[in-house]
Amino acid sequence: MLRRDMFSMTAAAALTALGGSRIQAQDAGMPKLAQKTAYKVGFAQTESNNPWRIAQTESMRSEAAKRGHQFVYTDAAASAAKQVADVNSMIAQRVDLIFLAPREEKPLVPAVMAAKRAGIPVILLDRRVDEAQAKPGRDYVCFIGSDFILEGHRAGEWLVREMKGQAAIIELLGTTGASPANDRHAGFVEAIKASPGMKIIAGQSGDFVRDKGRQVAETLLQANGAATAIYAHNDEMAIGALAAIEAAGKKPGKDIIVVSVDGTRDALQAIIAGTMGATVECNPKFGPKAFETMERYARGEAIEPWVINQDRFFDSSNAQQLIADSY
């Protein structure tokens, strides 16, 4: 395994070196994409250990099949180093375009640059790379993803309406320093700012994980008996919080209102059961948007630096209809 990786890396390095000397002359411009009916596209996934990632991969795969493109898939298994190697091996295979879901902001910059030098356009999905080093429109085509700030904002707006402007809120934050956690917090705070009755009385990280979300919620509920609402940065933590509320002898959905982000099947089931209030979708179905953007680029259209993937909103009014479509 290791040896094969090493081989593909050296092969790719040699190829990029070759490509580098050839393409240097046109370095200023973005690689172009010829108009064809069928492309060979690469998708470098960062990991596939959660329902969201699995849904994302599935959406990409099925959309590629629907449009008749050849699909080259790699899974970096949560390692930035492996993802760089994956991209390099896609370059070696001469794919037409690479969809990259970069695991981390800085380590993946060299991969983006290597593809550019080899004349292969890159489209980033759901996370970004460091914009100080690689810019959309210059080094890669664009970034497609949700607006995390808007997600937090919508959750906040809903809670203000639901609680009629009066709530003592416990916030379960995502992984410290992760951009979805920072942005979902910022958006939420912005949305409740105008209502002086809405107060965040406690906030701690639950690491986007159900077990930790539950334990943190248990402790925070115990220390803050007055809490009337919980805002979780993802559904897994929110479901953990539901268990914590029940363990504290209160009724979720009645005594304490829960709102979160993601739109997983479990969360929709909880909304139908009346225990969870609402969840803002963080749409994993990138396929249609990704391939539509690719075809627009091939036609020579100017692509905006950030193509926003639309998120829906789930509450008791539509959870029942939409659950079949959830992941």
Binding site: D207, V209, R210, D211, Q222, A223
Partner: protein
């Protein structure tokens, strides 16, 4: 055993110093101090519910740390416990959902889910012990194998997918209550008593201390060293399996990637803070319980006071360093 050997060699004047006292009862003193602090600093601390929250959260660590205490007492260490929890957690839902074997009746699935995963992790524990005894691999390396591979196994078995479920009969071990206390707290208490009794009253307990205190002397005295070692790893595996079931039962979901993640460190910390020497030859079951409670109280207080997560980790590390320092002081005095 170590103590008994050391006493005759010690100087005739034995002074009872403060540090020596602290070394002996440091964990209890620390726990008392933390509870006092919690009473003063955190709201609503003095209530049955607070007790429940803390005992529920600590039960998993204690159960794993009990097995770890025995392993440490033989001079070994078991890094694989967190991954073994993941394996147990991955297998149980597959069993009671009938994905592995067809079920004639629902109760069969529950019965299988409560036993088979624990036996499987026990078998993995035996594998750890086999590596340690048969090939004389250092325990930290031997159990590292399953720390890495074990989680991989759990992920392969489940395809890395989260398994969500609702099965009241199975989830009794995580959500049920008996006389007002959660079932897993009773389970923890029963295991603590069993282990304390075994270490104090049984031949096996004595043999563990003998092996940890001086392996060669124990072998020469006729103690079946390899068998004793294999057994403690099996016990550690069984404990990890039980803890894995408890965790997934509370959460109504098994996530192979996260169940038991970092548990080995919590368990070792509980053992160390509790006063069991990491060099072996001494086992303090009560100390391990107190050590786990100390860690839990630190976590609870920092959370309730709104101290960020990263700072809490540093505090935990500081606690372990303090405990080990106290132990060393105790040995010098």
């Amino acid at each position: 055993m170590l103590e008994r050997v050391a006493v005759p060699a010690a100087p005739p004047v034995r002074r009872v110093t403060v540090t020596a006292l602290l070394a002996r009862h440091g964990a209890v003193v620390a726990l008392a101090a933390l509870i006092l602090l919690a009473l003063v600093a955190t709201p609503n601390f003095l209530s049955m519910r607070t007790l429940n929250v803390n005992l529920t959260q600590v039960a998993g660590i204690v159960i794993v740390a009990l097995g770890m205490t025995l392993v440490v007492a033989t001079g070994g260490i078991d890094l694989s416990v967190g991954s073994l929890m993941a394996i147990a957690g991955a297998l149980a839902p597959m069993l009671f959902l009938g994905r592995l074997v067809p079920l004639p009746a629902p109760w069969v699935g529950v019965a299988l889910a409560l036993t088979v995963p624990v036996l499987v992790t026990g078998a993995f524990g035996w594998f750890n012990g086999w590596l340690v005894t048969r090939y004389r691999i250092q325990p930290i390396v031997a159990t590292l194998v399953l720390l890495i591979a074990g989680r991989g196994i759990a992920q392969v078995v489940t395809n890395g997918n989260l398994q969500a479920f609702r099965n009241p009969a199975f989830q009794v071990i995580g959500l049920g209550r008996l006389l007002g206390l959660p079932v897993q707290v009773w389970l923890m208490a029963a295991l603590v008593l069993l282990f304390a009794w075994a270490m104090r009253r049984t031949l096996f307990g004595r043999q563990i201390l003998a092996v940890g205190g001086n392996e060669r002397a124990a072998r020469l005295a006729g103690v079946p060293v390899s068998r004793v070692k294999r057994r403690v790893y099996v016990i550690s595996g069984l404990c990890a399996g039980v803890a894995g079931l408890v965790v997934i039962a509370i959460n109504s979901a098994a996530d192979a990637n996260l169940v038991g993640l970092g548990m080995e460190l919590d368990a070792i910390a509980a053992v160390a803070v509790g006063g069991t020497a990491l060099s072996g030859g001494r086992a303090r079951i009560g100390g391990t319980l107190v050590g786990a409670l100390v860690i839990q109280m630190v976590r609870y207080i920092l959370l309730a006071l709104g101290v960020p997560d990263a700072a809490a980790l540093v505090a935990k590390a500081g606690l372990i360093i303090g405990a080990v320092w106290l132990q060393r002081q105790g040995r010098v005095a």
